[in-house]
């Protein structure tokens, strides 16, 4: 669990001079991450808006075009990301207790899930590129020639592409955490980086929770 407010109350860790205490520093860091996540929601909101407009204006096209996607791969990736959220949550709670082995193991599991997600994405993308199921003028797929289908693919590639970029960035941060955790840097007195990376990672899961039904399961 990411429940953490209680466990830092007694610490006397060194903190930056503009903070009253290490607890205040931790709370400020976490709040900063929440504010960043607000900007992330608004960033994705533009893309969800584009999706909504297409869906309202061209419902038949959206219904036909989503069949170009493989919902089984989408469902598999949903399960993979949810699993990675679990291991991330376990890593955060282990870091609050300073259980080094457990932190490192769960971070590696999270990293592997993220890698697995990207591998599935790779197969999806390469299949589409191979079949010319692509946005705009690049679209050239004879089995579905309905008007405006390339617009669906623009939305699909931009949304999943930017989401995938978030996964890749997350993987980099997790590697950095693994290195710091191996040096025994995290414990009850200091686990801020693990906590706020956890927030970021769960947010990436959150976006996918909506992307999956919206893109793969249109009906």
């Amino acid at each position: 669990m990411a429940n953490s407010t209680g466990s830092v109350s007694h610490l006397d860790r060194h903190h930056a001079h503009h903070f009253e205490s290490a607890v205040a520093e931790f709370e400020a860091c976490k709040q900063g991450m929440w504010i960043f996540l607000v900007t992330e929601v608004l960033f994705f909101a533009g893309m969800f808006m584009a999706y909504a407009v297409l869906r309202v204006f061209y419902p038949d096209m959206m219904k036909a075009a989503h069949q170009l996607l493989d919902w089984k791969k989408g469902a598999l990736n949903t399960v993979i990301l949810i699993t990675s959220s679990l291991t991330m949550a376990l890593a955060v709670s282990a870091s609050q207790r300073g259980e080094k082995e457990k932190i490192v193991r769960n971070l590696w599991l999270t990293f592997l899930c993220a890698g697995g997600f990207m591998v599935v994405k790779y197969f999806e993308y390469s299949h589409k590129i191979h079949e010319h199921i692509l946005p705009g003028a690049l679209y050239n797929y004879e089995h579905l020639t309905m008007a405006k289908v390339p617009l669906f693919l623009s939305v699909y590639f931009v949304m999943t592409g930017i989401h995938g970029l978030h996964v890749l960035i997350g993987m980099g941060i997790i590697l950095w955490l693994i290195r710091r955790a191996s040096r025994n840097e995290f414990g009850p007195n200091y686990f801020t980086p693990v906590e706020i990376t956890g927030l970021y990672w769960h947010f990436v899961d959150l976006v996918w929770i909506y992307l999956f039904p919206l893109l793969y399961l249109v009906s």
Partner: protein, 244 residues
């Protein structure tokens, strides 16, 4: 606890996939979004710890969704209330020929039927309308099954949403209606042709346009345009998006 939440999330993923296999009409979307939101709440409350955290962070994160809602409401408000664009304002974007073609009727009073319009309408109907309205105009085309409300049955004289007068059907074609797309990109004479053909499919249409009806539809003496030439925003965007 983390494991229980994980189990719940996996279970709900299977629910989403399962429900998607059953056709519930418009309800499918509602269920999918509800389930996704329950999953999102579980992630926020337990994995991200908002349940145990200061209320401040919940308030901060909620503002994102409030602003997202404002964004969506304003955008759709704009999209569904757009009027027409003056053709003269498009001159710098769209080649003049393209707009001219969709600006003016060659008939003096295109809202009055003639044989030429009806036969042109028959051909246009076959290429633009049969998918939804069906070959005989009974509203039972191949694509009709997925639509709600159903496409208009032209063989029935009653129940036409915008009315059955020529100017009213012309308006429906120009602006679209529910799932029916905007046909404002068709030149006006093509739209008039469809109007008069569609009126032949049902019982004899005695309704004709009074001077008031024409005025209300922005039509008038002098060729079906009336005043400054204009086309719907949707049609203008289509013209701009066409490859040069």
């Amino acid at each position: 606890m983390a494991w229980k939440i994980f189990g719940g999330l996996i279970f709900l993923t299977f629910v989403t996939v399962g429900v998607a296999q059953v056709d519930l009409g418009a309800l499918n979307f509602v269920v999918a979004m509800l389930v996704a939101s329950v999953k999102a709440s579980l992630v926020c409350m337990f994995f991200m710890g908002l349940k145990y955290d200061h209320k401040e962070n919940t308030v901060i994160f909620s503002t994102a969704f409030i602003f997202m809602a404002i964004f969506m409401i304003l955008t759709f408000g704009d999209l569904i209330t757009r009027g027409d664009v003056y053709v003269k304002d498009l001159a710098h974007i769209v080649p003049e020929g393209a707009v001219q073609a969709s600006g003016k009727s060659k008939y003096e009073k295109p809202w009055e039927s003639n044989a030429e319009l009806v036969s042109a309408g028959k051909a246009l109907y076959a290429s633009n309308c049969v998918t939804c309205h069906g070959a005989d105009g009974q509203g039972n085309g191949p694509a009709a099954a997925g639509l709600n409300p159903k496409p208009r049955n032209f063989t029935a004289g009653e129940g036409w949403k915008n009315g059955r007068k020529p100017s009213q059907i012309f308006g429906t074609l120009t602006k679209g209606l529910n799932a029916m797309p905007v046909f404002g990109t068709l030149p006006p004479d093509d739209r008039w042709a469809l109007v008069h053909y569609v009126r032949t499919l049902g019982p004899h249409a005695s309704e004709t346009d009074s001077a008031d009806d024409l005025k209300k539809a922005g039509l008038g003496e002098g060729g079906g345009g009336g005043g400054e030439k204009s086309i719907p925003v949707g049609a203008a965007i289509e013209l701009m998006a066409e490859p040069k």
